[in-house]
Symmetry: C2
Subunit: 202 residues, 2 copies
């Protein structure tokens, strides 16, 4: 299963914390694929939350309830939006390419949600990398390299190709699932499709 | 539990078909409250689907998958948007006030989703009322009466007061749940709140 996610997406916290255990239970391999959901949402004029204080209030309460449902510690609403300059996305993309993607994503989301240190600002990304025992300055340099920036474009294009419009999204073949509350359904689909018909083409 | 719904809302089909059985299992009384979600979404500039073909395509597939999950027959995507002149909303509101609200709502959604007869056009609403063994012309007249139009405004205001921004919504005291995929959580909350803290005020 393909796990498309953005390091600054709120509900994505729930999936980043849950997906490894739930996928392991089902024996479903997961490919972690960071992408630039912000670019796609801007292309769609998909202003999910901007200017909608009632939806914001609801979102944080819903995430709090879902965290309790799943046994995750909730420390109150963190800052949002975050990673405005996409630093965390660049590092998450590099990490995914170098084989430590899940490790970095979990650490970055934990820093944001548990400790309220927003990703992509104030040296937080470097601190997260350091806590993982890696060379932050070398990694931040590689994250800025054209090769890595091209990876972000390619992964965001891959998300566009399957019709992704938000984070988190889960893809099994052509079948798209959007939102942490569809994670279990996506994993079940990966084991066995639950409908005989294919997903309609874009 | 308060069940706020709009007769022309797509995901609301799932809740209208499921809520009675699930509430009965838990012994939770449900008050069916039609309201004008369209007015609220326009006030919020909440354009959930307009101009977003990828989200439309996804929504229908997601509803198809959820219908299969819950054992509901799916007949393919019906027309949408519907009830543009709010005729079905006016009758649903009258029916709720007269004690046959759930009966009408189920019949109207079945007509729309199962038989692809869109609510609020082509005499469909009158036909639905007739199939319920009621006097369509008398009911349509009462539905247009100022008293009933005032009910719609009052119920829509009640939805605004609790911060509702979409349909279906479920309210237990101050606690708001949005979306058919939160129906079970809302019913569980009605039996016993699952968080100690209250929902933040608007």
């Amino acid at each position: 299963m393909e796990f498309f996610f953005f390091p600054g997406s709120t509900y994505t916290w729930l999936s980043v914390m849950r997906i490894e255990a739930l996928a392991a239970l089902r024996g479903v391999p997961v490919r972690w694929r960071p992408f630039n959901v912000r670019a796609i949402m801007q292309e769609m004029d998909n202003r999910f939350l901007q200017g909608k204080p009632l939806k914001y209030r609801y979102m944080w309460r819903d995430i709090e309830r879902r965290a309790a449902l799943h046994g995750l510690d909730w420390n109150g609403p963190p800052e949002h939006p975050v990673d405005r300059n996409l630093e965390a996305l660049r590092v998450a993309t590099l990490a995914a390419a170098e084989g430590w993607g899940p490790e970095f994503a979990r650490a970055s989301f934990e820093d944001w949600f548990t400790h309220h240190r927003s990703p992509g600002v104030g040296g937080h990304t470097a601190q997260v990398i350091g806590r993982l025992g890696r060379d932050a300055s070398a990694i931040l340099a590689r994250a800025e390299a054209p090769e890595n920036l091209a990876r972000i474009e390619a992964e965001t294009d891959a998300a566009r190709q399957v019709g992704i419009f938000g984070s988190p999204s889960f893809v099994v073949g052509e079948e798209l699932f959007w939102g942490d509350d569809r994670l279990e359904a996506a994993l079940d689909w990966a084991r066995r499709p639950t409908l005989p018909t294919p997903m309609p083409p874009i």
